[in-house]
Symmetry: C2
Subunit: 323 residues, 2 copies
């Protein structure tokens, strides 16, 4: 069963007192720059430095006592890894995480610091799904998928629920919401929540160029994969195609997909450093980059972007802000 708005309300109850209600921030300078009002949902301020904690905690907190004892397994380029590891630690559940060997060092170190066992694989020649599935079978563990799971989608959607409520508290409408996309769990959950509160809001998924499988899938009317050859420094947004559960939600609620270049993302990270004083990782900055580079018309409108994470190595961040 795909998740619906009520599942997000239930997830919000579960997360209350455990997750951070991340702030919505804005900058007069950025408002001037886009000629409208820009609301920035600061998900890098969530526990573990990204929204991923939301879905992970929503999933893990619903496991049975027996399932908790057998532990969980997850595969992730880094943010889901940290989210699952931290939620597992809080709930006393053993966790094994399968991560690409070339993931940012900070993400691997943090996942280990939360007490999870990390298994590394080669992103370009091995299948994380196969490795994760095998470990889950051997241990009798629950496999916690990064996006194609109703409980994960509902958990990520709590970010959109908060955003909608925060926009109302600011007296702002929401004309459009732009959300970073890897497998599309976050944008699916955010769309479910925001559309319930602001039915006319346009929702866009944003991806790095060469990883714009959601954009092309929406245009094709069916799930299509990336070419497997492209490269981007947006390490968090490399899922090969939209999920089976997420894609029908995308088809129903999204106005479209947008793609941005690494150079545009780098510039967005620099502006977030200068104007918002926030650390945004490459994959977390794609929606902001789309707005700053005119991918949609912002004039006189209120646009929200989710800046989805801030787990970036210092060298990568230093290069981006040097501009």
């Amino acid at each position: 069963m795909p998740p619906d708005y009520n599942d997000i309300l239930a997830a919000s109850e579960r997360l209350s007192g455990h997750a951070v209600a991340t702030p919505v921030l804005e900058s007069p300078d950025l408002n001037d720059l886009i000629g409208g009002r820009l609301l920035v949902k600061a998900e890098m301020l969530q526990l573990t430095g990204s929204f991923k904690f939301r879905g992970a905690f929503n999933k893990l907190s619903q496991l049975t006592e027996k399932e908790r004892k057998s532990g969980v397994v997850a595969y992730s380029s880094g943010n889901h890894a940290q989210g699952v590891a931290a939620a597992a630690k809080m709930l006393g559940i053993p966790a094994v995480i399968v991560m690409p060997a070339d993931a940012p060092a900070m993400k691997i170190a943090n996942t280990r610091a939360y007490g999870a066992k990390v298994v590394l694989y080669d992103r370009w020649t091995e299948s994380r799904e196969a490795i994760g599935g095998r470990i889950a079978e051997e241990r009798g563990s629950v496999l916690v998928k990064p996006f194609d799971d109703p409980d994960i989608i509902a958990g990520q959607g709590t970010s959109g629920l908060e955003l909608a409520r925060q926009a109302k508290a600011l007296g702002a409408g929401l004309d459009a919401v732009l959300v970073p996309v890897s497998g599309g769990g976050l944008v699916a959950g955010v769309a479910l929540a925001v559309k319930a509160e602001f039915p006319k809001a346009e929702i866009y998924g944003v991806e790095p160029e060469g990883f714009d499988d959601l954009r092309r899938s929406l245009e094709a009317g069916q799930r299509v994969a990336n070419d497997g050859q492209s490269r981007s420094f947006c390490d968090a947004l490399m899922a090969p195609m939209p999920g089976e559960i997420t894609f029908p939600i995308h088809q129903r609620f999204l106005s479209g997909g947008l793609a941005v270049s690494d150079a545009e993302v780098s510039q967005a990270m620099k502006l977030a450093f200068e104007r918002l004083k926030l650390v945004v990782e490459p994959g977390g900055a794609v929606a902001l980059a789309a707005v700053l580079n005119g991918r949609i018309d912002c004039r006189g409108r209120t646009i929200a972007v989710i800046c989805s994470g801030g787990n970036v190595d210092s060298a990568t961040f230093a290069r981006a802000i040097a501009g």
Copy 2:
């Protein structure tokens, strides 16, 4: 007349809807590190990237129509400059700002971008007070002092008022509050507000080594100046001595002064980048540095620090986070 708690409540009313109610953030990792609970008041998320907007807006919004027409003059190493320039722009008041020629390029550029006229001077050979006073006389403008003014102190105190209320909303007490100090306007206002809400809370002012005039003044029982020879990369914290109005407040309410080295500040900026995903400038990170380096006992206690600003050039920030 020195300001009191009621002046802070009045300032809070004036700022409502104009200033950001900055969030209080915490990190489980930093809590583990100090063995207590650490609340971080994120003042770099205030308009203009520092708390200084609070005092400036509180002051400027109370000027008469005649005073507004004659404009305002301020001297500042950069954050008060931006605060006054932005508040003046919002209120339609002409502003001239006297800034040191070696202030961070970002601070000078931002002050100009807010529409203020910037006059540069040599920090080591010229007197900013003399230059500012002369310009004010020539133009018939109001001189907006950076700290030694009851309206400025009351405005900065709204940060402490918010902190106290946010701590209560979190169900937390406040055992100690550490605040960056230049001339001591922020720590004076914060002390007035926090002591009214948490009478037993200890308040500490934190300064860079070599600029610890408040620490030495508290010990001497009278205002003493810095040696004028020391150097620090905490460009925002270089006032020569506590103010005439601020120091009696310090004497009445502070438990003491603390000093930290540039190396300790740099490490605190790195930890804020890694664990909080916040951009903190050197002067904004001294209170966090004091806590992380064990200047006070944190074990089992709830400690709040104000991270007072985030206006730092990219090269300086890159050096700090490289560690």
